[in-house]
């Protein structure tokens, strides 16, 4: 047949180009960060996380005693609701590739899947760090408003509190991502992430022989000391590490194994 209709022929000519390099991990991470915000759903999840932190600060401005309106008292309570939503971000970052079937494109462009997964993990960790910064900024606004309206407006903040907050938020987003990697399905991973630790917590309360292990395995218990500015004891650190091994490292490893081998279709 004649090919006179071929449009803009030059643009589709296969070119010989210079040896191509594989995309760097930095580039892949930037792509994954962009994927967190380039859909309406992703943007709203991030906005919601920010709004919730703002609401928590506002509520304290209204209801907390003047003497308690300090920087650390604005900062710490905003960590918990944000820490609940961050895992969802981690889960969706991983699972939406499969639910939206973009894995077909992503893994065709980057066949070394472990590099994509690494980039995703780094991206959600960056988002978690960003959330801590947002919490700090909102706490600062709250403190300013408090000092203008007769609250304590005390700016004192222990460095350890920030470190603890970072550990808290980064591990929660990674736990979410680990569940996403393991289950590769958004509803399943979200339900699994919230249900399993709760079930475990309830069992730990009800079944006496489980009470001992639950002190070491229930993340809501082991992570609790991170909300205070007191230095953690060796045993408290031990419990955090053990619970994270079970709820973060194990699903992360199993999930990576599964993701690397899974057929993309």
């Amino acid at each position: 047949m004649t090919t006179t209709t071929a449009p803009a022929a030059g643009a589709v000519a296969p070119r010989q180009h210079a040896p191509v390099r594989r995309p760097s991990l930095l580039r892949l991470t930037a792509v994954e960060l962009r994927k967190l915000v380039d859909t309406r759903a992703g943007r709203w999840l991030l906005i919601t996380i920010g709004l919730i932190a703002a609401v928590v600060v506002t509520l304290q401005l209204i209801y907390a005693n003047d003497a308690d309106q300090t920087f650390s008292n604005f900062f710490v309570p905003s960590l918990l609701p944000v820490g609940v939503l961050l895992p969802v971000l981690g889960i969706l970052s991983i699972t939406s590739e499969w639910s939206q079937r973009t894995a077909l494109t992503t893994y065709a462009l980057v066949p070394r899947r472990e590099r994509v997964v690494t980039a995703k993990l780094v991206a959600v960790m960056v988002a978690a760090l960003g959330s801590v910064l947002a919490s700090l900024a909102l706490a600062a606004v709250g403190t300013l408003v408090a000092s203008a309206t007769g609250g304590a407006g005390n700016w004192q903040l222990d460095g350890s509190l920030i470190v603890n907050a970072v550990i808290l938020q980064v591990t929660s987003v990674l736990m979410g991502a680990a569940f996403g990697l393991l289950l590769l399905n958004p509803p399943l991973a979200i339900v699994g992430y919230f249900l399993l630790p709760t079930v475990w917590g309830v069992l730990g309360e009800m079944v006496r022989p489980l009470r001992g292990p639950s002190e070491w395995l229930d993340t809501s218990k082991t992570m609790e000391p991170l909300f205070s500015s007191d230095a953690l004891t060796g045993e408290q650190w031990g419990r955090i590490v053990v619970s994270l091994l079970v709820w973060m490292v194990l699903p992360l490893a199993a999930g990576l194994f599964r993701t690397l081998r899974r057929e993309v279709s």
Binding site: R21, T39, R101
Partner: protein
């Protein structure tokens, strides 16, 4: 250049792809034909490293796909036009890939323009795209990195006739400039117009492959004259065997020999052309018929 050697994929005891081997040379368009479920997509996914083969292997430009440093710059892949995030705009979907491959932003606009997605369409979310628009976006995506090889799974699906005609021109042009194209279809007529070579697969096995002209010309030459008896005499005189068919006489010789024989005897021809598909079309119909029967039962 695509080389497929003894590719096999089993799901349980059932082989979806069974010992498939073929080659796609630079400068050619290879039509990968077979009814739905014959193993075309599985084979293509194995070539692209998305599905691990049970046995055998495939290379693209001489290397296994997974070992290509930046595959998008070497191979343009369109396996499923619907596999795009519904919440992203067409432009954003391309931008993400362009950035992954390390391409200039301008490539995105250039390729959107090339496939005929205008600025309005590019700003819309993929959710709102018709299948035809998704195919065009997928094609833009495949062409984004200026690859030398294209692997396209049913790219004509959902395109209107004008779109199909346009795409043929694009692929023909790509191959004529030294590119390698592998495109699949479940319609013989769809790839016939653009392919140089055909690979026909049924039930996971290759049932025919070769040059399109050879495969399609298997049926000989069809010739017709108002004076059928004179034509037959002319052919007999030239030593050509002719068989009756519904459209005229079917001769096992090329058109030149038949035309010469008629001219020597002074017979005016009404029609002279290669007989349609013959064996291949019959084979393809058998494959497809078997499948549609299965679907009807299901």
């Amino acid at each position: 250049m695509i080389t497929v050697e003894n590719l096999t994929k089993r799901y349980g005891p059932h082989p979806a792809v069974d010992d498939v081997s073929f080659q796609c040379e630079p400068g050619t368009v290879t039509g990968f034909l077979g009814p739905n479920g014959a193993g075309k997509s599985t084979t293509m996914r194995m070539i692209c490293g998305l599905t691990a083969p049970t046995a055998g292997h495939a290379t693209v430009s001489g290397r296994p796909y997974r070992e290509l440093p930046n595959p998008g710059r070497e191979v343009g892949v369109l396996l499923d036009a619907s596999a795009q995030h519904a919440g992203r705009t067409g432009r954003e979907a391309l931008t993400l890939s362009a950035y992954t491959m390390g391409l200039d932003r301008r490539e995105v606009a250039a390729k959107l323009d090339l496939v005929g997605l205008n600025a309005v369409a590019a700003k819309r979310r993929v959710r709102a795209y018709s299948l035809g628009m998704r195919q065009r976006l997928g094609l833009a995506h495949a062409l984004l990195g200026d690859p030398r090889v294209l692997i396209l799974d049913e790219p004509a699906n959902g395109l209107d006739p004008e779109g199909i005609f346009w795409m043929r021109g694009l692929l023909r042009d790509f191959a004529d400039r030294g590119g390698t194209v592998l495109l699949s279809s479940h319609l013989l007529r769809e790839v016939e117009a653009v392919a140089d070579r055909l690979v026909v697969i049924g039930g996971g096995r290759i049932v025919a492959q070769g040059n399109k002209d050879e495969l399609l010309a298997g049926g000989g030459t069809l010739v017709r004259a108002r004076d059928g008896a004179a034509l037959r005499r002319a052919l007999d005189a030239a030593g050509l065997t002719a068989a009756d068919s519904t459209d005229g006489l079917l001769v096992q010789a090329d058109a030149e020999a038949v035309g010469q024989a008629a001219a020597n005897a002074g017979v005016a021809l009404a029609e002279l052309r290669p007989a349609d598909g013959g064996g291949l079309e019959q084979l393809f119909l058998t494959l497809t018929a078997g499948e549609s029967t299965k679907e009807a039962v299901r």
